[in-house]
Symmetry: C2
Subunit: 236 residues, 2 copies
């Protein structure tokens, strides 16, 4: 499998490109609007055709590239039906599966950071968005966040996967790229050995400032990033 | 691919089991003598036959299970020819390749921790033994260790692999399981942004005590762990 992990320094966000080498079918997870040309170059480089552009949730800190990728590649866009992004071709729900080449994408609803937050399991790689992060997890204090729901999602749906399952988060702010379920279950600072109540207390007392782009980004991402992203792109 | 990451609490050592699902051919990397029965149970569980038992180096802190695995499964044992473990069936060198099922094992000599230290690259997973470790690296102050050689091995042979290449170390003492080349290249505390001289200065001033088992383990591991391991096992 072709696999690339791409980083947006401005929002410390990870974007993932996966492709099945033989069929050339490719998937983006959490693309960022600013990098559409780079993504198209990458697809060309690998000789791949984009089949899906998926979102782990409606982001509050960057504008999705899914809508633009759809325009430029005819990829289908997908997001959890709880996200309110009616622009997306596929309104996904827990238990759904998609395929690219001979790989299966398992849709695992992991509400908490937002009601529509979703993880995608592809082979032994889990893309967790802002649910489970490396030694951390997504905040739960805006966009309908719910600390208790986040705990249940992570403990019941993610920590029950095999220990070796690789964890690829939606963000990291400290330079870390990858972890695995065993590591997070055993040493995640917010979760390891914590009760639901202790976790909720931590999450409800983080007192973080809102992301700078929250007002622009959430609104834009509910429209698959099209209008605002186009305006933000350099004119050719 | 079947993939299991096993941990020995006594020496904080990782052992890896990899197997090709269709053919059932399996490989152990750095097995520990104490767990032979568990390893055989695992092989049975997955319906696999052990083809190779490989060592990343002659360990100083635990006794290898390779010799016993060979006795119980007819697996071939393999170690770098620089290790002085003439008991091993395969005296490996840089550039050698082995196969199990449709997977290729690339032998990458990474001297420094010991002259025979070796990493194994299998698909996009790199097993680094005590050369590159997560946010760390193996010590270079005994068993013919050489800080400059370690720096060259890591920087020239490992950091030139794709960023997404997964790094599975021989040890971790802080609960971490997995990293990747991009992460280590960018934030490894001993290596990121360091010159060869700065790295050597760090390594030559660690002032660590010797591992408790060094006298027993090095001698035993040069004999593939057979005599001492058999004596150490519970009598049935």
């Amino acid at each position: 499998m072709i696999f690339r992990q791409l980083f947006d320094k401005k929002s410390s966000a990870y974007t993932y490109l996966l492709a099945h080498e033989q069929s050339g079918e490719a998937v983006f997870i959490d693309p960022v609007a600013d990098y559409i040309e780079d993504y198209l170059t990458l697809l060309d480089h690998y000789g791949c055709k984009l089949k899906y552009s998926l979102e782990t949730h409606v982001h509050a800190d960057h504008i999705t590239g899914s809508g633009l990728l759809k325009q430029r590649t005819n990829a289908q866009t997908g997001v959890n039906q709880q996200c309110g992004a009616v622009c997306a071709d596929m309104q996904l729900k827990h238990g759904d599966t998609l395929t690219f080449g001979d790989h299966t994408i398992h849709v695992i609803a992991t509400p908490g950071h937002t009601p529509g937050s979703t993880s995608f399991l592809i082979d032994d790689r889990l893309f967790t968005g802002d649910a489970l992060m490396i030694d951390s997890c997504g905040r739960t204090d805006f966009q309908g966040g719910d600390a208790g729901a986040q705990y249940d999602s992570i403990v019941q749906r993610l920590f029950t996967l095999p220990d070796e399952t690789l964890v690829y988060p939606g963000h990291d702010y400290t330079g870390k790229w990858v972890s695995c379920i065993g590591q997070e279950r055993m040493i995640n600072a917010r979760l390891a050995g914590k009760t639901r109540e202790a976790f909720s207390q931590i999450m409800n007392n983080l007192n973080l400032p809102n992301p700078k782009l929250i007002d622009i980004a959430v609104s834009a991402n509910r429209k698959c990033g099209i209008q605002e992203a186009t305006e933000a792109l350099p004119q050719s």
